[in-house]
């Protein structure tokens, strides 16, 4: 698959950021150095970026920067350019087979760590709350079509007799839910992210 590239100027115009910001983000580790690709041009040399990756990243940064420090954001992105294949995820035994099947149907190619984490969270919720795949399927579809922002750190899952409810939150705060739901589980994203990252890195070393 040949990747599409865009020049620095195109990027600045399209995202409406300044050179100062771009370089600051680079310094703070929000944009990986290897995305700054040097290419020769008629004026000598120019810097280009992998288009889809950089646009998505800048959108994320702009979303997050009002509520998080650069340091926290860079932690969030750490290890993210480790793409994971569906095959690898299958071998990790973190994610339920049925969930993976659904992933395979919608998503082709490699998965980034955020998506993998969210799928992992869903899978874990399924196991611990003993609910069936049909109930979480809509949520997984939302994950895969990127309707759930990456900024969340925790998820509460409430299961009732007939339906389930998912509540995403940023801090480990307690939320009071009404009695209608008889089971509540809370899942921290970070653990699952680390687990997947670790497994993935191990796999790469072998």
């Amino acid at each position: 698959m040949s990747e599409e590239y865009m020049t620095k100027k195109e990027l600045l115009i399209e995202t409406n950021i300044s050179y100062g910001q771009l370089y600051r983000w680079k310094r703070d580790g929000l944009i990986p150095e290897k995305w700054f690709v040097k290419r020769s041009s008629f004026t000598g040399q120019e810097t280009v970026f992998p288009k889809n990756l950089i646009l998505e990243r800048i959108e994320h940064i702009q979303d997050l920067k009002s509520e998080m420090s650069h340091e926290d954001i860079s932690k969030l992105f750490a290890g993210e350019d480790n793409k994971i294949t569906v095959e690898d995820l299958k071998n990790m035994n973190i994610i339920d087979d049925k969930v993976l099947e659904a992933v395979n149907n919608i998503y082709s190619g490699d998965i980034d760590i955020h998506i993998a984490t969210l799928i992992g969270v869903m899978s874990k919720a399924m196991k611990t709350a003993d609910i069936n795949f049909k109930q979480v399927k809509p949520a997984i579809e939302r994950v895969l079509t990127r309707q759930i922002p990456i900024k969340y750190k925790y998820m509460d899952m409430l299961t009732g007799d007939k339906d389930i409810k998912m509540h995403f939150k940023n801090t480990d705060e307690c939320v009071l839910y009404d009695d209608y739901y008889n089971n509540k589980i809370s899942i921290c994203f970070e653990n699952i992210r680390q687990e997947i990252n670790m497994e993935n890195n191990l796999r790469k070393q072998v």
């Binding site: 620095k8 100027k9 115009i13 300044s18 050179y19 100062g20 910001q21 771009l22 370089y23 600051r24 680079k26 310094r27 004026t43 000598g44 040399q45």
Partner: protein
Amino acid sequence: MDELKNIKISGSASISGGSFNKISISGSGKIDGECSAQELSIAGAGKILGNCNIKIVNISGAGKIEGDLEGDDLRISGSGKILGNISFKNIKTSGSLNSEKNVTCDTFKTSGISKIQGKLKAKDIKVSGILEANNVESDNFTSSGMLKITEMLNAEKINITLFKDSEVGEIGGKDIKIVIGYNNDITNFLNNFRVSKKTIELKSKFVEGDTIYLENVKINEVSGQDIEIGENCIIHKATYTNSIKIADSAKVEISEKT
């Protein structure tokens, strides 16, 4: 905790590594392994063969460290050669610092010669001597010395006062200001009688920033929001998004608004 020992080498000796309170070498000393200490001072010739974690390091003679060096304060007024990575809070050199890998610190001041083969990363950098590096990253960068940066200088605020010919591969930041160091009326006057005119200049391939002010530079491409090109500049291409000012004596081949 046991009290740590002080070590003093004033003749010629070699010791094995370990934990110490104070190490001072005034003759010719060698430490044969990893060591940690509160303080290290080298006034003669000192050599450490392993990684070091030392709070305060003072090199006024010749020091060579073959591993990584870590601590709070590093002062070099003699010559220091470090083969591993350097990581300190404050680094001040008035002698020569020679690093084969990366240097990370909060404040970096050099009035001597600093040669860094990897990346120099700091919050504040002040150069009044000579800085040679592959890559430089910092929040504030001030220089009134000579620069030789092969790849990139990336900082929020860049203030360069030129006193010597300098060369920087790329410059990127928010506010960039490059000015000539002294009033060169006399040089200009003398230049009238010379066959080849020689002025001090900074060469670079790219300069990119939000606000840019330039003097005495030779640059391939400049781009930014507000650009002011002062005297004695030779620029191939300038692109701006907001405003541009070009001095009469500056040569700008192409200037475009994007």
